[in-house]
Subunit: 255 residues, 2 copies
DNA sequence: CGTTGCGTTGAGTACCATCAACTGGGGTGG
DNA sequence: CCACCCCAGTTGATGGTACTCAACGCAACG
């Protein structure tokens, strides 16, 4: 359960103003997210907007917590690569997954302003992440209007996903929940250029699906079996293949 | 379904800088919320921080929508008095209530920055509300650190409530959902000085409870009957009376 | 080659939805 | 004043969805 920060593969634990060492130079998501506004969209050609911004890069192996609910932290953590998820844990050990985090996501937008969060974050795959200093970001944020706007959009998108999931859990059956969850995830991946039209990385176990949509693993297995037997989709070897998108949308009651 | 803006009881439809006419002078929630930062906490003694802030006061009768999902709006709307709720509607008419809005709540924190929202807001009782101009607030917000902090706290509290509700819908049974929902509502009321220790205003129908916690009205009725017969709580004439708080918390699996 | 993690399948069951009938209060209109 | 209706809530009967418990298959791994 303890977070054991490892050194970044590229051997940078902390970087202040050394462009050539920054992993961000090659970051594929920077163009479209929060970091773009913060560090500049084209790091290779344009210098960093503000080199004084402190960044600490770390790796968390899969199944380990990146952040533990209730812990005080001075960091705002960005997922650089790999997948993670936010979740709350019930006293009896059951958990509810709140959202899946993809590269380019902040662990929590409001985390920039709050020193403690009420949910935990766990790595689904090995995750490379970057810790900004919360207080530095707080100062920077209103100053840079571009960054601020992508930040607000993050918050809004975040809230919207929660609202949709809430409606699903409250009002939809198992097959609808699962297929809607998967479709939304596909949308988010496509937005970020992850995966192809009908094939996506999919590192979630059925346990994660179950915890996300409020079912048991046994029942998720049955739902997935049905989707698979209908040629609608198939998950194997951490990869999702969509055989019949139209039918998937129909099951999901979308459009 | 149409919003039909009515004149404010005090006959102020629009107010720019006329302190003595402002309903806000007597507002009981201003001290603790967003408006306090914006307008000053003690309007009677201290002049407004910024009289140029445009405010338009309106009334929406119960059961009518204050805001319709997807509509473009230049306003950020604050609930001055009365109760309302945010909800999303499914294509087949079922709905999921996202949260209950009390006096002092913004219809949506991110609504300050977004010209459209994906959920609707409906008045539960007659609601008096105040429309600020979104763009004006956007400019004002980062400038006033006090206001900004209460704003961020709003956002955080908001997200936290969603997370808790999500966990409830995903992982808890009917009795737990209902009692947790009620307890959280009680907490929020107490925070704002609404109601007494064991008695609170409660304008929700069982239909609203059902739509909030993802049950049918029939089943909510059964749960409420059980809570009532156990002397735990009773709802009558728009008022909630708690007979046994400890037991209510036990049922809700709190503490 | 045992162990471990993950998924699958079957049998039995609990919870909650659905359908339907009915009650009581409050408002309205004759 | 009463008849009527509507709304909100209650109650009973029935059934389906999803849960629980348990056993088993399979692949990966040391």
């Amino acid at each position: 359960m303890q977070i054991e920060p490892l050194q970044f593969a590229g051997a940078i634990a902390s970087s202040v103003g050394k462009i050539k060492d920054l992993p961000c130079i090659e970051c594929p998501v920077r163009k479209s997210n929060f970091c773009g506004g913060l560090l500049g969209e084209q790091l290779e050609t344009t210098p960093l907007v503000d080199l004084k911004l402190k960044q600490v890069f770390r790796i968390t192996p899969k199944r380990r917590n990146i952040y533990q609910a209730g812990t005080k932290s001075d960091d705002a953590i960005m997922i650089c690569s790999g997948w993670a998820f936010r979740f709350v844990q019930l006293p009896d050990g059951r958990r509810q997954i709140l959202s899946i985090l993809l590269p380019g996501d902040l662990i929590s937008p409001i985390g920039i302003f709050a020193e403690r969060l009420k949910f935990s974050v766990q790595a689904l795959t090995e995750v490379h992440h970057c810790a900004f200093n919360r207080v530095e970001l707080q100062a920077k944020l209103p100053a840079s209007s571009g960054t601020f706007i992508t930040y607000i959009k993050d918050c809004a998108a975040n809230a919207e996903q929660l609202h949709l999931l809430l409606a699903d859990l409250g009002r939809r059956n198992a097959a609808e929940r699962v297929s809607r969850f998967i479709l939304r995830l596909m949308d988010r991946m496509t937005e970020r250029g992850i995966g192809e039209a009908d094939s996506f990385p999919f590192p979630l176990r059925q346990q994660h699906l179950a915890d996300a949509v409020g079912l048991t693993t046994v029942h998720v297995s049955r739902v997935m079996a049905k989707l698979r037997s209908g040629g609608i989709l198939d998950v194997a070897k951490d990869r999702l293949r969509v055989g019949n998108l139209a039918e998937l949308k129909r099951v999901a009651d979308i459009k």
